[in-house]
């Protein structure tokens, strides 16, 4: 089976006040279809950097990032952008919905960056319905609860039919009921053949994943229970 995501000896460091800080030590990670991997770790442990490396938002200092077996490290920014547009879905803790678009328009937004628009209004409405948002389609983000916003963000990330879903503390601002809906949707995404990489410091959320890993000071290791 072809891995969806492969990190091979991938590392990343930052310069801060003249000092080099190693955010991610060389890591190896492979996500196959149906994988749901949760990475736990305290703040500043390098979880988000790892997620951004996987999402082609950051380039590694060393090693490589392969997406569906394609080496992406040396691709141009625009080529990475195209990759992201079609292969990767992002979910953030802060939702990052566009404030001036309605719920439905926010879900449809990624379709604007697709060369071949196979996504339709029907797909968006189906996603909204599956996340319990049908009654809120015309509402703006400011009119939605935190849970509704996050579910909207999740629907948006799934619209283009990505193979990889990257989620950073997706339930951090949610009540338990909303968190459960979001996790269940991610599980069903993985069950349908996608791969999910979830970053969280919530043990309960991590427990929903098939695989749990831990990250501390840039080093990735299997989680200990």
């Amino acid at each position: 089976m072809t891995p969806i995501l492969q990190l091979r000896e991938t590392s990343r460091s930052f310069q801060k006040k003249g000092k080099t800080i190693s955010a991610v030590h060389p890591v190896n990670l492979s996500l196959l279809p149906r994988d749901f991997v949760a990475i736990q770790g305290p703040s500043g442990s390098g979880k988000t950097t790892l997620l951004l490396l996987a999402g082609l938002m950051l380039s590694p200092d060393s090693g490589s990032v392969l997406l569906e077996n394609q080496e992406t490290t040396h691709l141009s920014q625009e080529a990475k952008t195209r990759f992201r547009a079609s292969k990767i879905g992002f979910v953030f803790q802060q939702f990052h919905l566009v404030p001036y678009l309605s719920l439905l328009e926010n879900i449809l937004l990624p379709a604007s960056f697709q060369n071949t628009a196979t996504q339709t209004l029907e797909t968006a409405k189906t996603l909204a319905e599956s996340l319990g948002l049908s009654h809120r389609l015309d509402h703006f983000p400011s009119e939605l609860s935190a849970g509704e916003r996050q579910r909207t963000a999740l629907a948006r990330s799934l619209l283009v039919g990505p193979s990889l879903l990257l989620a950073d503390e997706p339930t951090g601002n949610l009540d338990p009921a909303s968190a459960r809906i979001v996790i269940e949707k991610m599980q069903s995404f993985a069950d349908a053949g996608g791969a999910v990489l979830l970053v969280t410091h919530d043990r309960n959320v991590a427990a929903a994943a098939k695989t749990q890993m831990a990250m501390d000071t840039g080093t990735l290791s299997p989680a200990t229970t």
Binding site: T49, T81, P99, E105, F113
Partner: protein
């Protein structure tokens, strides 16, 4: 709806941050309105100046024509420039008696009229003789006139010494006494109706009676003759009067020509002086208006760059502010696959919309103010002076370009923002 178009995103964003957009529109409107307003005011002032100068020139021309006419009449009243007499006329006797005592055939008038002479405007044949007025038992000067003979090649002029119709008489003031036009008067055994009475001139004219030439010829028993032709030189070509005299002599060899040259020269020099004076007044007016326009231009050249720089700076700041306040949105759009061209287009389209709205409203307000100003303070103002379609179209384009120029660097900066850095900070 499967895709959200750029225009929808721009429209929604404008609606969401309406005040930011309004400030940008306001900045462009002030810049564009300032430029269009200044141009409209220049145009209004310039057109008003052109009109005012044209009116003044027209006025001067009319005044000069009037002056010329009145001097021409004055010349006639005082004396003609040219008097044509018989070659046999003794000039001493002519000057002593105030009239010639020799005659010319009346056919000479016809000869001169039909000649190729073009420098004479008016020709008045006359027969004058001192005669006793039997009814009043006093000597008078009787002059027979036929009115002015129209010269074949001269341009037609208004007759200012009208003929006396047969059966009527024109009288000098001394002869008329208390009689008025329309009164009957007995002269030489016949009753004449007084056609007109001349104002006192203090000359022999006060003692003169003017009759129709045919009647005068009968009374004076001189059929078919006259004793003088008076002519006025047109003066417009500044021709030498001696040449005119020579020309007349060549046409009528049995005549002599008396020229009152100083009068003609005075008339011409007075006209020239008046014309020069008027031209100088016009030039002074034009110079004064040009100076005012220069002053306005200098002020505009000093004010406009400051205005444009201020508005440009303001727009630049607004664009930076928009980029700063939308950095999360940009990062998220980038994470979803928005290209840098799309991000730049988001900002530049918004700037173009602000530019267009600002330019149109700026032009409209500027033109409205210019029209109001023009109507109130510029005599003879025409709305077309202030409404210049080409300038308005150019200003609209310039407004868009101005807004785009101010947004360009912030838009490029937006495309170069590192979304990872922003998302790392936000997450």
């Amino acid at each position: 709806m499967s895709k959200l178009g750029l225009s929808l995103l721009v429209f929604r964003e404008i609606r969401y941050r309406l005040w930011q957009f309004f400030f940008a529109v306001f900045a462009v409107a002030i810049a564009t309105g300032g430029v269009v307003g200044m141009i409209s005011l220049f145009q209004i002032y310039d057109a008003a100046t052109a009109r005012s100068l044209a009116e003044k020139e027209k006025e001067i021309r009319a005044r000069l024509a009037e002056l010329s006419e009145s001097m021409r009449k004055g010349s006639l009243i005082q004396q003609f420039n040219i008097t044509i007499l018989s070659a046999e006329q003794d000039l001493a006797s002519f000057h002593f008696d105030h009239y010639p005592n020799t005659t010319l055939p009346e056919s000479d008038v016809k000869t001169l009229v039909n000649s190729d002479i073009t420098t004479i405007n008016h020709l008045e044949p006359s027969l004058t003789k001192r005669i006793r007025w039997p009814e009043k038992n006093r000597d008078i000067l009787l002059t027979g006139i036929r009115g002015e003979a129209p010269l074949r090649l001269a341009s037609p002029k208004k007759m200012f010494n009208p003929p006396v119709p047969p059966g009527q008489v024109a009288l000098g003031s001394e002869l008329a006494g208390s009689l008025a036009p329309g009164d009957p008067i007995e002269m030489f055994g016949k009753t004449y109706k007084i056609a007109r009475v001349h104002w006192p001139k203090g000359t022999i004219a006060d003692m003169t009676a003017w009759l129709d030439l045919d009647e005068a010829q009968k009374i004076l028993d001189s059929p078919g003759v006259i004793n003088a032709m008076r002519a006025i030189h047109c003066g417009c070509a500044n021709m030498d009067l001696d040449l005119v005299a020579k020309k007349i002599k060549s046409i009528l060899p049995d005549t002599q020509v008396i020229i009152d040259k100083p009068k003609a020269d005075t008339r011409n020099s007075m006209r020239s002086a008046a014309e020069e004076e008027s031209r100088e007044a016009l030039a002074t007016e034009a110079a004064s208006r040009a100076e005012t326009l220069t002053r306005i231009t200098s002020t505009a050249l000093a004010v406009l760059p400051i205005l444009l720089a201020t508005c440009g700076g303001w727009l630049l700041w607004l664009s930076w502010f928009a980029v700063r306040s939308r950095r999360q949105e940009i990062a998220v759009l980038r994470s979803m696959g928005a290209s840098s061209i799309f991000i730049a287009a988001l900002f530049l389209s918004r700037a173009a919309a602000a530019g267009l709205a600002g330019a149109l409203s700026g032009c409209a307000i500027a033109v409205l103010l210019a029209v109001t100003w023009g109507t109130r303070y510029t005599p003879g103002f025409l709305a077309s002076d202030a409404i210049l379609p080409l300038w308005i179209f150019s200003a609209a384009l310039a407004g868009i370009a101005f807004s785009l120029a101010a947004a360009l660097i912030p838009a490029i900066a937006a495309t170069r923002q590192d979304p990872a850095k922003i998302l790392q900070q936000e997450i």
